[in-house]
């Protein structure tokens, strides 16, 4: 008899490995999680409320989540990982520098 958990979607993609754009697939223990990648530092003149939101408040989504990982035991690259918080599935890993450059181009700054 097949065990139900073997076919469960929650067990198909376990983030035991992150595919670092510089180093290739590496064990999760090489990386340090550094939180939500979607929060944006407000303008220095922003209101106290905006700063509190930026510092403490989080969307904490149940599902797809863009997050920062630091490859501490590898290339020291900061990565933006798209990961499903419900299933641990990973659908994309890009360098945070590339994301920052693309967003700077978008805003024309």
């Amino acid at each position: 008899m097949k065990k139900a958990w073997a076919r469960s979607p929650t067990c198909t993609e376990v983030p035991m490995r992150l595919n670092c754009p510089c180093c290739g697939p590496r064990g999760l223990e090489e990386f340090i999680y550094r939180g939500d990648a979607t929060v944006r530092r407000p303008d220095p003149a922003a209101s106290a409320r905006e700063w509190v939101d930026y510092t403490y408040m989080r969307d904490n989504p149940d599902g797809w989540h863009h997050e920062l990982w630091y490859h501490a035991a590898g290339c020291h690259c900061w990565l933006v990982v798209r990961r499903n918080t419900r299933t641990h599935e990973i659908s994309g890993v890009v360098r945070a520098a590339d994301v920052a450059r693309a967003s700077a181009k978008d805003t024309g700054s």
Binding site: T10, V14, P15, M16, G27, L28, E29, I32, Y33, R34, G35, D36, A48, R49, V52, D53, T55, Y56, M57, R58, D59, N60, D62, G63, H65, E67, R83, T85, R86, T87, H88
Partner: protein
């Protein structure tokens, strides 16, 4: 009301009748159209809240709605430790209130929760750590909480099997709280559920909250998988999922959900007679009454809504255990599991009103919700019934982050390095 009062006589009677006369411990209640208070979340905190609402605050019509079954969440997934060895003024009275409630719990709810005050010993391994524990012990004693500093010799006599001469982390001593210990965690859920049920609380299982209905900025009930349930007041006590449920009322919270794993080994003869924490890492261990070693360590460290963990943390926790007590190296791991923690950004909980009228929040217990169960229930019930914070929980405000009044006991929030 059903279910007899447990006593030596009822035990004898059932022993002679072949244990055939026991009734279910609580009714399988059907949702009524409306209640005075609906608590979302049938974990330890939700059940305790309902119990104290009915028992101490005389609220008549109370319901607890639980998406799964009683004992399915964190109340059935923790390492059973109780203690009140805190440092900060916002925390000590609250956790001491909780420990005192634990001490009288079994008589209070007429249920054997196996409260065992076997002691909690926090080891230290450096001069700086010793100073920190002396300070913490002093803070506890100033609040009338028991604390005792043990030197290296006293720890060695009590726990001879530790790796006292470890090259990196020699055991220099420990801070002992004798009144700390363990409680049978499932019995806490069952006992509170039974006691609340006897007071007329409806415990509605397999009933997931899918929305919070609002009228003119006021919560008037919850939408559930079993229909709408009206409520004069709604209390949220759904650890792990607090963000999701609060979002149904348009709230954004200062917390992330993380998974924390716990572990149980095969059964062994008794050899650890207290709870031991390894101050150099983040590792804690005790031995259950069945003989299994119950232990845990850090959260997995990334947002998760999967109630299961990942291998690197298992390795990390087991390494910490081996560093502390090499003799457990050949013990087999029987099982491990993960539960969801609301990690607040300062590592401390929230018991407060929300910006929505008639909606109350009990959340953010981080790793430490179990020991807080009775006081959390009492304080949340007080808040809901009186619309004012209980005197021992005045610091757990939702707006403390914006006011700069964070309670950073150990810098153990979800991402403490960022704050």
């Amino acid at each position: 009301m059903q279910g007899s009062r447990y006593s030596i006589l009822s035990l004898l009677r059932e022993a002679l009748r072949g244990q055939a006369g026991w009734k279910p411990a609580w009714r399988d209640a059907q949702p009524q159209p409306a209640y005075d208070v609906v608590i979302a979340g049938g974990g330890g905190h939700g059940l305790a809240t309902a119990y104290y609402l009915a028992r101490r605050y005389g609220v008549k019509r109370v319901a607890v709605v639980e998406k799964g079954w009683i004992g399915n969440g964190n109340i059935g997934r923790n390492t059973t430790i109780i203690r009140s060895n805190y440092l900060l003024a916002g925390n000590v009275p609250f956790y001491e209130c909780s420990l005192k409630l634990w001490e009288g719990l079994e008589q209070d709810i007429n249920y054997n929760a196996m409260v065992s005050q076997r002691g909690v010993l926090n080891l230290f391994h450096s001069d700086a750590q010793r100073n920190a524990y002396i300070r913490r012990g002093n803070a506890m004693r100033l609040h009338g909480v028991d604390a005792q500093l043990l030197d290296a010799g006293a720890v060695r006599r009590r726990l001879p099997f530790l790796d006292h001469e470890n090259a990196r982390f020699p055991v220099q001593g420990g801070l002992l709280q004798k009144r700390g210990g363990t409680v049978r965690h499932d019995a806490v859920a069952w006992g509170y559920a039974r006691a609340a049920d006897r007071l007329g609380v409806d415990i509605i299982q397999n009933c997931e909250v899918t929305g919070i209905r609002m009228k003119n900025g006021r919560a008037v009930g919850v939408e559930t998988t079993r229909g709408f349930i009206g409520a004069g007041k709604v209390g949220l006590a759904c650890a792990g999922n607090s963000s999701r449920v609060a979002a149904m009322a348009g709230l954004r919270l200062p917390m992330e959900s993380h998974v924390l794993q716990a572990f149980v080994s095969e059964g062994l003869k008794p050899f650890i007679d207290c709870v031991v924490t390894f101050g150099a890492g983040h590792f804690y261990i005790s031995q259950s009454d069945k003989g299994g070693l119950v232990f845990g360590g850090d959260i997995d460290g990334y947002n998760s809504f999967a109630q299961r963990g990942n291998m690197p943390v298992i390795e990390d926790v087991c390494e910490s255990g081996m560093a502390l007590m090499p003799r457990i190296g050949r013990v087999r791991l029987l099982r491990h599991w993960g539960g969801l923690m609301d990690m607040t950004m300062d590592g401390s909980p929230i018991i407060d009103r929300t910006p929505v009228d008639a909606l109350y929040l009990n959340a953010g217990w981080c790793y430490g919700g179990f020991k807080a169960t009775p006081a959390s229930g009492l304080c949340f019930a007080h808040l809901i019934a009186r619309d004012a914070p209980h005197p021992v929980a005045t610091a757990y405000r939702l707006d403390r982050f914006g006011r700069g009044a964070v309670i950073d006991e150990k810098g153990m929030g979800a991402q403490p390095n960022l704050h």
